[in-house]
C-alpha cells in the first residue's frame, strides 16, 4: 500500500447504510413475531401492554429524540469546523444515552420486582398471550438496550478522535457514520414505543 487513496466518503456511507439495513432486519425478525402474536392475542397484548408505564416510555422517547438531535447537530458542527461545539453536542448525546439506560434500568427492575420476567412463575401461570408479550418486550428492549450501549461506546470513541483532531471538517465520515448508527437506535425506539407501551 504505497500511495494513499483519496477517501471515498460515499462508499463509506454506503457501507454504513447497508449495515443499518442488517440491523433493521435483525429487529425486523422480532417485529414479525410481534405482528403475528398481536394478531393472535389482541386482548392479552392489550392488558399486558397496560402494565407497562407510559411515562417511562414517553420519557425515554423524548430523551432519545433529543439525543438524536444533538448527534445530527454534531455533524453540522464538525462540517462547519466548530470542533468544540461538536464535542459538546456529542457529550449531550452520550448524556441522553445514560439517562435512557437509567430509566430503562428503573423500569426493568420494577417489572422484575413484580415477578414479571422471561420464564417467571407468574407469567407461566398467567394467560399465554401475556407471557409472549413480555417475552417479546424483554427481548426487544433488551436488544435495543445493547444497541444503545454499543452506540454510546462508538460515539465516545469518535468523540475522542474528534478531540484528537483525526476527525475534522475535511474528513468526518467516521462521525457521520457513528451518528447514522445512533439514529438507527432512535428509529427502532420510535416503533417500540407505540407498539409496546401504547397500543390498544
Amino acid at each position: 500500500m504505497s500511495h494513499e487513496e483519496p477517501k471515498d466518503e460515499v462508499g463509506a456511507k454506503l457501507g454504513m447504510w447497508l449495515f443499518l439495513f442488517t440491523e433493521l432486519l435483525l429487529f425486523g425478525g422480532l417485529f414479525i413475531l410481534y405482528a403475528v402474536y398481536l394478531a393472535r392475542y389482541p386482548h392479552e397484548f392489550a392488558t399486558a401492554g397496560h402494565e407497562l408505564n407510559v411515562a417511562f416510555g414517553a420519557g425515554n422517547t423524548v430523551v432519545l429524540l433529543t439525543s438524536s438531535l444533538f448527534a445530527a447537530m454534531a455533524v453540522t458542527a464538525i462540517k462547519r469546523g466548530e470542533r468544540g461545539r461538536a464535542l459538546a453536542l456529542l457529550g449531550g448525546t452520550l448524556g441522553c444515552a445514560m439517562i435512557f439506560l437509567a430509566i430503562k434500568y428503573l423500569e426493568w427492575s420494577a417489572k422484575i420486582g413484580h415477578g414479571i420476567y422471561p420464564g417467571s412463575p407468574k407469567l407461566a401461570a398467567g394467560p399465554p398471550g401475556e407471557s409472549v408479550f413480555f417475552g417479546l418486550y424483554y427481548l426487544t428492549t433488551g436488544l435495543h438496550g445493547i444497541h444503545v450501549l454499543i452506540g454510546g461506546v462508538l460515539l465516545s470513541w469518535i468523540g475522542a478522535r474528534v478531540k484528537g483532531g483525526s476527525i475534522h471538517a475535511g474528513d468526518n465520515v467516521a462521525l457521520e457514520n457513528g451518528t447514522l448508527y445512533w439514529h438507527l437506535v432512535d428509529l427502532v425506539w420510535i416503533f417500540i414505543f407505540p407498539l409496546y407501551y401504547l397500543i390498544l
Binding site: S2, E5, D8, V10, G11, L14, G15, L18, F19, F21, T22, E23, L24, L25, L26, F27, G28, G29, L30, I32, L33, V36, Y37, R40, Y41, E44, P118, G119, L123, A124, P127, P128, G129, E130, S131, V132, G135, L136, Y138, L139, L143
Partner: protein
C-alpha cells in the same frame, strides 16, 4: 500456512512483495488475495471434515440396524455434517474465497472497499468455527437437532445446542460483512470503463448474492438468539404451552435459510458463466439475461421459504402462495441453463478440467433443480418431504452444483494465483470418478425417498437395504475421485509446471495482470475498453 510460504518460493507477485513473511503476514493481512486464500484453505478444510462425516453417515446406513455407531452418535453426526457443510463450507465457499481472490481484479480495483472489514470477516469466521467446534466436545455433547434446529426439540434437548447456535450466529455476521463489502466494492470501485454492462457475470452473481447476505442473514441471527433465549431464559416464545407457536420458528428459520440456498448457488452459477465461454472461445449467449436472472433469483428467492413447510400445519392458503412462488423462481434458473447450453453451439470447445466441472455442474444442477420442482408442487412434496428424496435433491444442487463449481473454479483460477498448475490427466480421472460416484450415491437416495424412506433415520426397514448399499458404495467411488482430485491440485499448485500468461484465453481483467498478481493488482489504474467475453476485443486469439 507455513508450508504455503516455503513451497511457493518460486512464485512472485503478492506472495512475495508484501515485504512481510510468516503467519502474521497472512492472518493480519488486508490484501484481498491473501484473505481469499485464507478463506479457501479454511473452507476446504471444513469441507474435508464435513465430507468425512458424510462418508461415515453412509457407512452407518450401509446395512439396517447398527453398523458402526449408535443412534445418538448418528444423530449428532448428521447435525454436525449439516452445520459444517452449510455454514462453514458452502455459504462462505465461493464468495469469500474465489470472490475475494478474483472479484476486485475483475472489476479493475486494487482491493475491496473495506479491506480491514474483510479481514474482520475472516476472523469472525474463524472464531465462529471455533465456537461451533467447541460445542461438539463440551457440555452435553454435540448437538443432535439437525441443522434446522427446530423447536421444541432444540429447546429441550440436553445437548450443547446453545453454544453451537451461538457459533452459527457469529458466522452469520461474518457473512453479512462480506456482503456489505462486496456491494460497496462493486458500486464504488469499478475501474474506468467498467460499466454495469461490462461486469463479468461472476461479479454480477456475487452482487446478487451479497444482497441476499445483507437482507436475509439478520433474520437467522435473531432466530438463533431466540433459540438461545428459549433455552437459557425460558422465554417461551415458541412454547405452545405458553402461547408460543413452534411453526413461527420454522417461518423465521426458512426466511433466511431458503434465500441462503441462493447464496450457495448464485456464485457457482457465476463461476460457470465465466468458464463456459472461455473454453468455448465464444461470447456468452444472452449476457443480459444471465445477469438479470441472477438478480431475479435473488429477489424471487426471498419469497418462497414456505415450501419447506407444506406439511407443518401451515395454512392451505400459504401452501398455495408459496408453491406458486416456488415455481416462479425456477424460471430464471431455466433461462440460465438454456443460455449456457446455447453458448456451446458453434463454439470451439476444449474439454479441460475446469470445463468438465462446469459442464457437469449444468447437468447435475439441472437434475437437482428439476427434482426441486417435484418438491415445489404441493401434492408431490407431501409424499417426499423429509425423505431421502429431499436429501438427494439438495446434495445434487449443493454438491453437484456448488461443489462441482467450486472445484471448477479451483482448477480455473488457482494456477493464476500460484503460477503453477496441476496435471491434466489425473484431473480427468478424478473428475470422472467423482461424477460417476456422485450419481450412484445421490440418484439412489432419491429413489429411496420416493419409496418412502424418511431422512435422519439411523435405522430402516429391510425393504430399503439393497438401495442403501448401492448408495454407500457410490460414496466410496466419490471419495476416491475426490482424493485424486485434491492430491493432484495440491501437488500441481506447489510443485507443478509453471503457469504463465493467459493459456486459456480469458478476456476478463484477471488474465491481463501478471501471474501471480502483484499486491497492487494493477500497475496503473486500468481503463476498460471491451466486454468480459469479447475475446477478439481483448486480443485473445
Amino acid at each position: 500456512m507455513s508450508s504455503v510460504q516455503t513451497t511457493t518460493a518460486a512464485a512472485g507477485g503478492f506472495w512475495r512483495d508484501s515485504g512481510k513473511t510468516g503467519i502474521g503476514s497472512w492472518i493480519f493481512s488486508t490484501d484481498h488475495k491473501r484473505i481469499g486464500l485464507l478463506y479457501l484453505y479454511s473452507v476446504l478444510g471444513f469441507f474435508l471434515v464435513g465430507a468425512t462425516l458424510g462418508l461415515l453417515l453412509r457407512l452407518e446406513l450401509m446395512t439396517p440396524g447398527r453398523t458402526i455407531m449408535g443412534a445418538t452418535t448418528y444423530n449428532a453426526l448428521f447435525t454436525v455434517h449439516g452445520v459444517v457443510m452449510i455454514f462453514l463450507f458452502i455459504i462462505p465457499g465461493i464468495p469469500a474465497s474465489f470472490g475475494n481472490l478474483v472479484m476486485p481484479i475483475q472489476i479493475g480495483a486494487r482491493d475491496v472497499a473495506f479491506p480491514r472489514l474483510n479481514l474482520l470477516s475472516w476472523w469472525l469466521y474463524a472464531i465462529g468455527a471455533l465456537v461451533v467446534l467447541t460445542a461438539l466436545f463440551t457440555g452435553g455433547g454435540a448437538p443432535d437437532t439437525g441443522w434446522t434446529f427446530y423447536v421444541p426439540f432444540s429447546a429441550r434437548t440436553g445437548t450443547n445446542v446453545s453454544v453451537a447456535v451461538f457459533g452459527v450466529f457469529i458466522l452469520g455476521f461474518s457473512s453479512i460483512l462480506t456482503g456489505i463489502n462486496f456491494v460497496t466494492t462493486i458500486h464504488r470501485l469499478r475501474a474506468e470503463g467498467m460499466n454495469w454492462g461490462r461486469l463479468p457475470l461472476f461479479v454480477w452473481s456475487l452482487y446478487a448474492t451479497a444482497w441476499v447476505q445483507i437482507l436475509a442473514t439478520p433474520i437467522i441471527a435473531i432466530t438463533l438468539v431466540l433459540v438461545i433465549a428459549e433455552r437459557v431464559l425460558g422465554t417461551g416464545l415458541f412454547d405452545p404451552g405458553r402461547g408460543g407457536d413452534p411453526i413461527m420458528f420454522q417461518h423465521l428459520f426458512w426466511i433466511y435459510s431458503h434465500p441462503a440456498v441462493y447464496i450457495m448457488i448464485l456464485p457457482a452459477m457465476g463461476v460457470v458463466s465465466e468458464i463456459i465461454p472461455v473454453f468455448s472461445r465464444k461470447p456468452i449467449f444472452g449476457y443480459k439475461m444471465i445477469a438479470f436472472s441472477s438478480i431475479a433469483i435473488a429477489a424471487a428467492g426471498s419469497l418462497v421459504w414456505g415450501h419447506h413447510m407444506y406439511t407443518s400445519g401451515m395454512s392451505d392458503t400459504a401452501v398455495m402462495v408459496f408453491s406458486f412462488l416456488t415455481f416462479i423462481v425456477a424460471i430464471p434458473s431455466a433461462i440460465k441453463v438454456f443460455n449456457w447450453v446455447s453458448t456451446l453451439y458453434r463454439g470451439s470447445i476444449s474439454l479441460e478440467a475446469p470445463m468438465l466441472f462446469a459442464l457437469s455442474f449444468v447437468l447435475l444442477f439441472s437434475i437437482g433443480g428439476l427434482s426441486g420442482l417435484i418438491l415445489g408442487a404441493a401434492a408431490t412434496d407431501v409424499h417426499v418431504h423429509d425423505t431421502h428424496f429431499v436429501v438427494g435433491h439438495f446434495h445434487y444442487v449443493m454438491f453437484g452444483g456448488t461443489g462441482f463449481a467450486f472445484f471448477g473454479a479451483a482448477h480455473y483460477w488457482l494456477p493464476k494465483f500460484y503460477g503453477r498448475r496441476y496435471k491434466e490427466k489425473p484431473a480427468l480421472i478424478g473428475w470422472a470418478l467423482m461424477f460417476v460416484g456422485f450419481n450412484v450415491t445421490y440418484f439412489t437416495m432419491q429413489v429411496l425417498g420416493i419409496r418412502g424412506m424418511p431422512r435422519r433415520y439411523y435405522d430402516y426397514l429391510p425393504e430399503f437395504a439393497p438401495l442403501n448399499m448401492v448408495a454407500t458404495v457410490g460414496s466410496w467411488i466419490l471419495a476416491a475421485g475426490l482424493i485424486i482430485m485434491i492430491v493432484n491440485l495440491w501437488r500441481g499448485l506447489f510443485w507443478g509446471e509453471p503457469f504463465q500468461g493467459n493459456p486459456w484465453g480469458g478476456a476478463t481483467l484477471e488474465w491481463s495482470v501478471p501471474t501471480p498478481p502483484p499486491t497492487e493488482n494493477f500497475e496503473e489504474e486500468p481503463v476498460v475498453s471491451h466486454g468480459p467475453y469479447d475475446f477478439k476485443g481483448a486480443g485473445v486469439p
